[in-house]
């Protein structure tokens, strides 16, 4: 089983040189820490920045410079600032190569639910619906099961959905799976110490297992 950092490390291996990437709040934000320095990528913050740098030192803190999670940040050399309209223009037109975000549920069709839990205060979808409707490639970082053991990889979402047929790949604490174009979770890798049988039991949606499933390397 992977912890949050393990999930972030595994997702970092999906990153290719030259990519523009939008990282959601939570585990996705951690991914930035594990991208090799030999790989040049540009991180987009949907509130209006291309080129997120490391968190600032105390002396560098600037209230006019925050990320979409409202954290203080710095800018990399070569950054560009712009409005929220321009930011979502580039998201909708497919200029962002990779979007990494969290999810509460994903269906075997690639539907994602991550913005609303019935009975809890609705905080809003922020930019999630725009991102999932437009991104060329979406990787979801999530727990395979809820705390009470219920699978979050489902035949269809039970929670209100954020977007239809958009998730391409999931990296969970147990496995890496792809969503096939015709539907179904195709198992690609097992987390260290997790068996195919464990993953089968933890996956309520259609799981496709073909041949030997390697253990992931981080």
């Amino acid at each position: 089983m992977l912890d949050k950092i393990g999930i972030a490390k595994r997702i970092a291996r999906e990153v290719r040189d030259g990519m523009y990437i939008n990282l959601g709040i939570g585990i996705p934000t951690l991914v930035a820490n594990y991208i090799p320095s030999s790989i040049n990528v540009v991180l987009q913050s949907e509130n209006g920045l291309l080129g997120i740098g490391p968190f600032p030192t105390e002396a560098e803190v600037d209230p006019d410079l925050i990320n979409a999670g409202k954290q203080t940040i710095t800018m990399m050399p070569g950054s560009a600032l712009f409005s929220s309209a321009e930011s979502f223009a580039m998201i909708r037109s497919g200029k962002v190569d990779l979007t990494i975000l969290g999810a509460m549920e994903v269906s075997e069709q690639g539907d994602i639910a991550n913005w609303k839990v019935p009975g809890k205060m609705v905080k809003g979808m922020g930019g999630a619906m725009d991102l999932v409707a437009s991104a060329k490639h979406i990787i979801v970082a999530m727990q395979h099961c809820s705390k009470d053991g219920a699978s979050k990889l489902l035949p269809s979402c039970t929670l209100p959905i954020t977007g239809l047929r958009c998730v391409k790949r999931i990296v969970s604490d147990m496995a890496v799976v792809d969503i096939l174009p015709g539907g179904g979770f195709k198992l690609l890798e097992r987390a260290p110490g997790v068996t195919v049988d464990d993953i089968k039991k933890a996956t309520a949606g259609k799981l496709i297992v073909e041949g030997e499933i390697p253990e992931m390397t981080l």
Binding site: F55, T57, Q71, T72, S83, S84, A85, M129, D130, S134
Partner: protein
């Protein structure tokens, strides 16, 4: 050039009536019109509809106007940082319309660009699509969304000149430029107000044509919601 300068925030908001529809710039607490909000608190206008990406926090930003019950309705993309907001929402005192952030930005942009409606993929197949027209273009499904406009737009910039030209700083730009364009009356507050001729025309983010009143704000707090730092 046309001079748009007013003395202060109180003069700028003097004619905002009860029940007005306002746009307020900012993302979280970054780039919000602090002085104009303070003036609205002093003025005590009621029944406001506020279009703003967020609703502030309990003790700052739009949160202050929620506490004084001046806001009837919020139109936002995310409202998660505010306990008083939650209380009023659950008790039915406050109406809320949640809009995907990109759709919100584009609807405001459309309002300022004279585009009454447009199509976007965001929200297709979700609750957001309820009651909205959908249409396929080139094999993909889109929702039709309408423009948003406001009686008054309250924006905050870094520098401005007496003709109303504005320059924002860092990620404090966010929703401010589109909201400046989408207000029937747009009120801009700036950290530094300069005479015309001091700003490079090439660097202007919001041309003065969109700004009806401008004043230099005072005592900016610029609060930080998530102060996150590294050691070295």
């Amino acid at each position: 050039m046309i001079n748009k300068v007013v003395a202060d925030a109180d003069e700028a908001v003097r004619d905002i009536p009860d029940q007005a529809v306002l746009m307020l710039g900012g993302f979280g607490l970054c780039g919000i019109p602090e002085n104009a909000i303070a003036a609205l608190l002093r003025k005590g206008v009621k029944g406001l509809t506020c279009i703003s990406n967020n609703a502030g926090v309990d003790d700052f930003g739009i949160g202050l106007m929620l506490k004084t019950r001046q806001v009837k309705k919020m139109i936002s993309s995310y409202v998660g940082e505010n306990a008083e907001f939650e209380r009023q929402l659950l008790s039915g005192e406050l109406e809320v319309e949640l809009i995907p952030q990109g759709t919100l930005a584009e609807r405001v942009r459309a309002g300022g660009a004279g585009i009454p409606a447009f199509f976007t993929p965001a929200g297709v197949g979700t609750e957001v699509a309820a009651g909205k027209e959908t249409r396929d273009f080139d094999g993909k499904t889109y929702l039709m969304e309408r423009w948003l406009r406001a009686d008054f737009s309250l924006v905050k910039a870094w520098k401005g000149d007496t003709a109303g030209n504005l320059i924002y700083r860092g990620t404090a730009r966010n929703f401010n430029p589109m909201m400046a364009a989408a207000g029937k009356v747009t009120i801009a507050e700036v950290e530094e107000l300069v005479p015309v001729g001091q700003l490079d025309p090439n660097d202007i983010h919001t041309p003065g044509i969109y700004v009806h009143r401008i004043f230099q704000g005072r005592g900016y707090e610029k609060r930080i919601e998530q102060r996150t730092t590294r050691k070295s």
